[in-house]
């Protein structure tokens, strides 16, 4: 590794924690990639990541790290890694990862998170889904009636 100086960038989470990572890792995020392109290729760049806390960002970067070197691994190896990675995330982290993947434009992570959510939803009734994600039922009685009819066709 002598003589090859890796380009580094510094990411700042919403709660002010700095993460120094390789540029190629950070560029897994299209948001950062674009920010770097706009700002020229200066070194020692500081990029604030709004709305993403340090806890979440560290987990996001773990994902980026792995995927930045994806070419070194077999495809199924990456798949396995993804599976384990998303499996160990609890519901709150899953939510933050989805939000972060969206605001940072990391498509792979967003799809991975969406898949996890879909797997949690499968086979559940709307009420069970609400309880799981702590969501309030905010439908009007008219909407409830429409839903009831739609359900009638698909359940029983």
């Amino acid at each position: 590794m002598v003589g090859v100086k890796k380009k580094m960038v510094t990411l700042v989470s919403s709660d002010g924690v700095e993460f120094v990572v390789e540029k190629r890792v950070a560029e897994q995020s299209l948001f950062i990639k674009n920010a770097l392109n706009e700002g020229g290729v200066e070194e020692k760049v500081m990029i604030p990541i709004p709305k993403v806390t340090s806890d979440t960002l560290s987990s996001v970067l773990e994902y980026c790290e792995k995927h930045a070197s994806a070419t070194e691994f077999q495809e199924n190896e990456i798949e396995e890694w993804d599976k384990e990675y998303i499996e160990k995330a609890d519901l709150d982290l899953l939510y933050y990862l989805l939000q972060a993947s969206y605001s940072m434009s990391i498509m792979g992570l967003m799809e991975l998170g969406a898949k996890k959510v879909a797997s949690l939803i499968r086979g559940k009734s709307p009420q069970e889904i609400r309880e799981l994600f702590n969501i309030k039922n905010d439908f009007t009685p008219e909407q409830e009636e429409e839903i009831r009819r739609e359900m009638q066709w698909n359940y029983e």
Partner: protein, 295 residues
């Protein structure tokens, strides 16, 4: 103190859409968009995939239906007062029930049962068409009323005559009841893809549809219609999902009912996995039942 920021209902709509795309099963999809107004607004309404009415004797007020979406047999409840009657047709959320099996069918014996709540009846022509020998009993009319009895309001409309109502379109395909005289390879009962015809209500002209353009086409006793395979990825593109009126074969006292898919591109017939229709003849025929929400 950490503020509670997790509000699943506020996920960006792109993410909600991505999640919903991962729920091809109709039930899961509908559950998903029934959780809260945000999620509902971010997802589009899908048509329901039709049920296949499974031929069976009704012993209680329950009728079996087969769902193509997850290849499961389900039950639908039927109102008490039609106990003992049998389903002869299904249309847009309605079952058409009749009282007796062996007595000649009379309009007085027909009952409509609201499974959903909209009425769109199409009566099937049950006899060979004297004007067109190619049209046999299995020929269906959709979206058009084909009267089984003379029209009381219009004496010119004879029994069995087509009366085009100003409705959308007519699709028809044939499943041959007899060996094809023009093609000895096509045996009695075999599916011979004749044509899918569309009727434009404005000019009552019949056009042949050459290409399903990726859609899935449901062909059945009571009605025929197509559905988008992009909306329902579990449906096969360019395939005809067919079911038929029980056909009687030679040396076969009871006849036979059938359900499967016919690929218009490869002309291959496949039974749908898990389909419960390997029944011998029962009078209650299989038919597609579609929700009125599809209209």
């Amino acid at each position: 103190m950490k503020m509670r920021m997790v509000r699943w209902e506020n996920l960006p709509s792109d993410i909600i859409e991505t999640i919903s795309d991962l729920l091809p099963n109709g039930t899961d999809y509908i559950s998903f968009r029934s959780v809260c107004t945000y999620w509902r607004a971010a997802t589009s309404k899908k048509h329901n995939i039709p049920f296949l009415i499974v031929p069976s004797e009704i012993s209680r007020n329950v009728h079996n239906v087969f769902r193509v979406s997850d290849q499961e047999t389900r039950r639908i409840m039927i109102r008490q007062e039609i106990l003992g009657k049998k389903c002869c047709e299904a249309s847009h959320g309605y079952l058409i029930m009749v009282t007796t099996v062996n007595a000649p069918m009379n309009i007085d014996h027909l009952y409509l049962v609201e499974v959903d709540c909209h009425l769109w009846v199409a009566l099937r022509y049950n006899y060979p068409d004297p004007e067109n020998s190619r049209v046999r009993r299995v020929h269906l009319a959709v979206g058009a009323l084909r009267y089984n009895y003379p029209d009381l309001e219009n004496s010119k409309v004879k029994k069995g005559a087509f009366r085009f109502a100003a409705i959308l379109m007519l699709w028809a395909a044939l499943r041959y009841k007899y060996p094809d005289p023009e093609n000895s390879k096509v045996k009695k009962g075999a599916f011979r893809f004749a044509a899918i015809l569309i009727v434009r209500p404005m000019n009552v002209a019949i056009e042949e549809v050459k290409d399903l353009e990726g859609r899935a086409f449901f062909f059945g006793l009571n009605q025929s219609f197509w559905m988008s395979t992009e909306e329902h990825t579990q449906l096969k593109k360019n395939c005809i999902y067919y079911t038929n009126f029980p056909l009687r074969r030679e040396d076969d006292v009871y006849g036979h009912q059938d359900f499967g898919t016919f690929d218009t591109a490869t002309h291959k017939i496949e039974r749908v996995l898990g389909s419960p229709l390997e029944y011998s003849f029962t009078w209650v025929p299989s038919a597609w039942l579609m929700s009125r929400h599809n209209i």
